[in-house]
Amino acid sequence: MYSYIVRRLLLTAPVVIGVSVLIFLIIRLIPGDPAVAIAGVQATKEYIEQIRKELHLDESLPVQYAIFVRNLARGDLGNSTLTRRPVAVELRERFPRTIELTLIALLIASVVGITAGIISATKRYSLFDNISMLVALFGVAAPVFWLALMLQLLFSVHLGWLPSTGRGTFLHFILPSMTLGMASAGLIARITRSSMLEVLRQDYITTARAKGLAEKVIIYKHALKNALIPVVTIMGLQFGILLGGAVLTETVFAWPGVGRLLVDSILARDYPVVQGAVLVLAFSFVLINLVVDLIYAFLDPRISYHSRESE
């Protein structure tokens, strides 16, 4: 297992480097003159030159990348071309907002999804099973931004129970996190159900039943632990997908997180901020995946690097 952990850590290094190269290239790959694209077509020559200097666009690509990495190591992500504020400062404010929303959404999705999945598996083909699997299908297929608007329409416009946008009180969390977590809850419910059904077919469960153990003991003490292994992986992946989904959810709910910052800066052609926002989201995802894989290795002692690769 330790060699697995070491190899997994070593494999993260090229990914981190690759991600940084890709993000570095965002500005440099814009067709035409990037300095003009960033400054805007109406900008004065002096301003375009200033942008070119600021982003070192007049240097060769390897030199530009070296400067990018050096600055990154110092926590310097440049300044917003729009507000002139340091990107790092902006991200430091925004990132915790995205993480809190994502974590709450994941928590809701896991509790709802795992509970629904277990009940569905143990009461297969019952009314509960059918309804919850139908809701799960709905959750996976409904566009997150539409769901957001429909919930706003119902709970804010018609019923007036919950605030439709912004952040501040506990109530502000309910709609965004429910919306964001809906698709994940559906997926987690489906995975938990099928994984639980698979485990309940195993010999050791039959043995436990033959020993006359109570069904509750069998399900919660014997089956659940093994059934949850694939669910943990999915939860980790979902965390990343939720980070991506936050881009849409934050836009609808005017949530002051990184996702909304990203969209606003793309529309305003504020590329240094775009780079910073993408960097934060991608690096968090890489980190989460690493943690999930390590947890997976602890949960399932059979895991070795080889078996994981051939999956």
Binding site: L11, V19, F138, P143, Q152, G244, L248, V263, A282
Partner: protein, 299 residues
């Protein structure tokens, strides 16, 4: 001698029958799956709407009529009118074309790039595989819709770029899937047999390895059409996709959002259309997966 030939001929016929009956079994199982059939029905309905849109509605999806701006659904305008008085039903019908085309082309891009990468890296392994896998790891490091957003940021907004963006974002999915299938197929006896017969590597990959990846690829493609449609609508909603006056569902929703309090139909129906189309492909995908997996087939 003739006996053995005859035996061989009948054996060949049997194997031909077997492969045919396998396909038939899959189709028969799929036909019996009511939920998958509902999915197929939804898809066919949308395809018909997209193809015959000009025959189904008499209103031009881009023709403005300010007198009717934000009108509620009525007998003439089944789903009401938008902020410029355009008929929402026509816009949703024509929008089906855009969404279906985006879904199909982006999957085509994903297949064209992803399948060869997966097949070659899985079959040959070695340094090529190691390099490609790291490249794919890097692409996968961008969660969900983010990779598509990055591509659009670089290429600029517009329907064509959305197709490219969602297509590129699906490449790692196919590359991983096909590589995994190829790794297991490679170990099969019939591949060693083909090698022993002196068949070239290219022919082995094309005629013996790839056809056996067909099932998972078809299933994934069905789901991927749904995902691409969702991503494209998301990009349209954010203002990073199709641009006005194109009747793209996500963009219609984004515009309608401004009038949510006075004209909720502008957000409800386009979203419902996206939801139904995505649901259709997901249901069919679930059915196909069950039908193509002999273990889950129950007769």
């Amino acid at each position: 001698m003739t006996g053995t030939l005859e035996a061989r001929a009948s054996q060949n016929q049997k194997s031909a029958e077997h492969s045919e009956s396998e396909l038939r079994a899959v189709l028969r199982y799929l036909r019996k799956n009511r939920i998958a059939m509902i999915g197929l029905f939804i898809i066919v309905l949308f395809v018909l709407c997209a193809v015959f849109a000009p025959l189904i509605t008499k209103y031009d999806p881009t023709a403005t009529n300010f007198g009717k701006a934000l009108s509620k659904p009525s007998v003439q305008h089944w789903l009401g009118n938008d902020e410029l008085g355009r008929d929402l039903f026509s816009r949703i019908l024509f929008g089906a074309r855009i969404s279906l085309i985006i879904g199909l082309i982006s999957v085509a891009i994903g297949l064209i790039l992803g399948v060869p990468i997966g097949a070659l890296t899985g079959y040959f392994g070695g340094k090529l595989d190691l390099f490609a896998q790291r490249a794919i790891d890097i692409m996968i490091a961008f969660p969900g819709i983010l990779l598509a957003i990055i591509v659009v940021t670089v290429l600029g907004v517009g329907v064509e770029n959305v197709m490219i963006a969602t297509g590129i974002a699906s490449v790692p999915v196919y590359a991983r899937l096909v590589r995994g299938s190829v790794l297991s197929i490679k170990k099969m006896g019939y591949i060693s047999a083909a090698k022993a017969l002196g068949i070239g590597e290219a022919a082995i990959i094309f005629f013996h390895v790839l056809p056996n990846c067909f099932g998972p690829v078809i299933v994934q493609s069905t789901f991927q059409v749904a995902t691409s449609i969702l991503w494209a609508a998301g990009l349209g909603f954010l203002g990073l996709g199709a641009q006005p006056p194109l009747p793209e569902w996500g963009a219609i929703l984004a515009k309608g959002r401004v009038y949510m309090r006075v004209a909720p139909h502008l957000t409800t129906y386009p979203g419902l259309a996206i939801f139904l189309m995505v649901l259709g492909f997901n249901l069919l995908g679930d059915g196909l997966r069950d039908a193509l997996d002999p273990r889950s087939r129950k007769f």
